[in-house]
Symmetry: C2
Subunit: 306 residues, 2 copies
């Protein structure tokens, strides 16, 4: 099994009440790929600039991630995001975004990336998501993320992109904005009417919810004593979720498999936020994932009436 | 087993995007008592005015709730709250509060109320909570709720009241405000250092979390298609939670019992919000509670790794 992700490969500058970093490896494709790499083979598709070095690539490669489609653009600048968080770590404040090489990105994925059974279209311009979707003919399960910017400025393109995937992964506020429906269950149904059979609502520290035509499901976030930087948590969640599904060959997953995938997504997101950027997940061990998965079961389990 | 609750018995005027009511039965003690009445014997302690009639008392009595300590004050006016909710039903906007008979309330509970094994001090002035706590000598498990007003204006009294109970049930924002600690787990620990061994964080539509000295626990809210009026959800949660504990004689509950109690609290809160005020819970059946408890288990259950 294999999974391809297209999205930003970035340098991030982040400040939170617990510290700051001037320039660290980030980007949605990076956070996603690292999380998914614990479960399956991952191909990353995206552009970087001249100054993106071997050290950054090595973080990916050391996790077995295929970087043949990390395209270095001569004279270009890597995508850059600067942001900060105040005491409420659920709210990211963007201070600066420089698209750099992403502004003119023309994806030309290798056959290997195009043949992967699972595809994640991280948060990029919806028409670009559609082009990659069309190129990746091997994908049996395709999912996309998006953001408020595209919901406001590219709503029609985004709706078309959504109709071409089987799974949508958005923040709950984005689901509400996209559909104009304040109720989450109704918002998820409205997205399903656009095409996808799986809708995931990310809810920050509160966890996540999942909707399929027949059922609804929800998990709280893992309760942590130390949360230092939430950047990339949503992409780590998606990486754990889709990585698990691809790793067990679930391209038309049943509900029980989706629920386990949600738990793995929750676990990966919880590690992500413990330290800055990719620092925690870069040194994560499979045994730690399995241990926290069991802890999450204990954290949410209750018995039938005694 | 028996449970005593002291708190507001009120008339509420509520407007939400789904309708409005000019004057309906409400108040923290009422919502709590109705929810708890499905699990155990309940005594309500609180004052009402002249205009509080037999029809309102009958809603309580028809659920087997003892109203001997619902004290009618001649010439007085029943506590009145007017508020509204916009599209974000997690945020209540208070438009008017008239304390009425509550301003001068001097509780004189009967021996029956004082002898109950479980006591809930709903959100009232902390010194009043302390007086009732001292009077109810039979209580082996005492819990309290509070609000931002008392945290701001009566912090020392509130901290003393907290030291005299075994369980605190607050919104997560209130826990953070009370302790000055943005992290929920750390905020809960700070409350435990004041005395209580059980801390419950209510998180609105996102569910709830529970902390004991050795463990943390969390449940999402029940996902509902129709949420019409969240007023009283927190008190219905507390009523299901403490009512269940008292009903099974758990006055020093172990973690597994607390987790089932959280699930019952979640279930009762979910029914509460489906209609205005007490309308839904007033006609609720035990079988519906049991059915939704099973649904909540399915909604949150995931398997060990396959």
């Amino acid at each position: 099994m294999a999974l391809t992700v297209v999205g930003s490969i970035a340098f991030d500058a982040v400040r939170t009440p617990f510290g700051e970093r001037d320039r660290m490896l980030g980007g949605s494709a990076v956070h996603f790929a690292l999380a998914a790499s614990f479960f399956t083979e991952v191909n990353v598709v995206g552009p970087v600039g001249d100054e993106f070095g071997e050290a950054e690539l090595e973080v990916l490669r050391s996790h077995g991630i295929e970087t043949a489609d990390v395209e270095r653009i001569e004279g270009g600048e890597t995508f850059f995001w600067r942001g900060h968080y105040d005491a409420d770590l659920n709210v990211a404040h963007t201070d600066e975004t420089r698209l750099g090489v992403f502004a003119e990105f023309d994806p030309k994925p290798t056959d290997r990336s195009r043949g992967a059974e699972t595809l994640f279209l991280a948060n990029i311009q919806p028409d670009l998501q559609r082009r990659v979707r069309a190129l990746c003919e091997g994908a049996r399960l395709a999912a996309l993320d998006s953001m408020n910017l595209w919901i406001e400025t590219e709503r029609d393109s985004l709706r078309t992109a959504i109709a071409e995937v089987g799974c949508v992964i958005l923040n709950d506020a984005e689901l509400r904005m996209l559909t104009g429906e304040p109720n989450l269950l109704r918002a998820a149904r409205a997205v399903m009417e656009m095409g996808p059979g799986i809708v995931v609502a990310k809810r920050g520290e509160y966890g996540s919810a999942l909707f399929t035509p027949g059922a609804a499901y929800a998990l709280p976030g893992f309760l942590l004593e130390d949360v230092r930087d939430p950047t990339g948590a949503g992409d780590s969640f998606a990486g754990g979720f889709l990585g698990y599904l691809d790793g067990c060959g679930a391209h038309r997953p049943d509900d029980a498999t989706l629920h386990r995938a949600m738990a793995y997504g929750t676990v990966l997101a919880s590690f992500n936020v413990e330290e800055f950027g990719t620092e925690r997940i870069a040194r994560l061990k499979v045994e730690e994932i399995n241990e926290r998965y069991a802890e999450l079961r204990a954290l949410t389990h209750f018995d039938a009436p005694g």
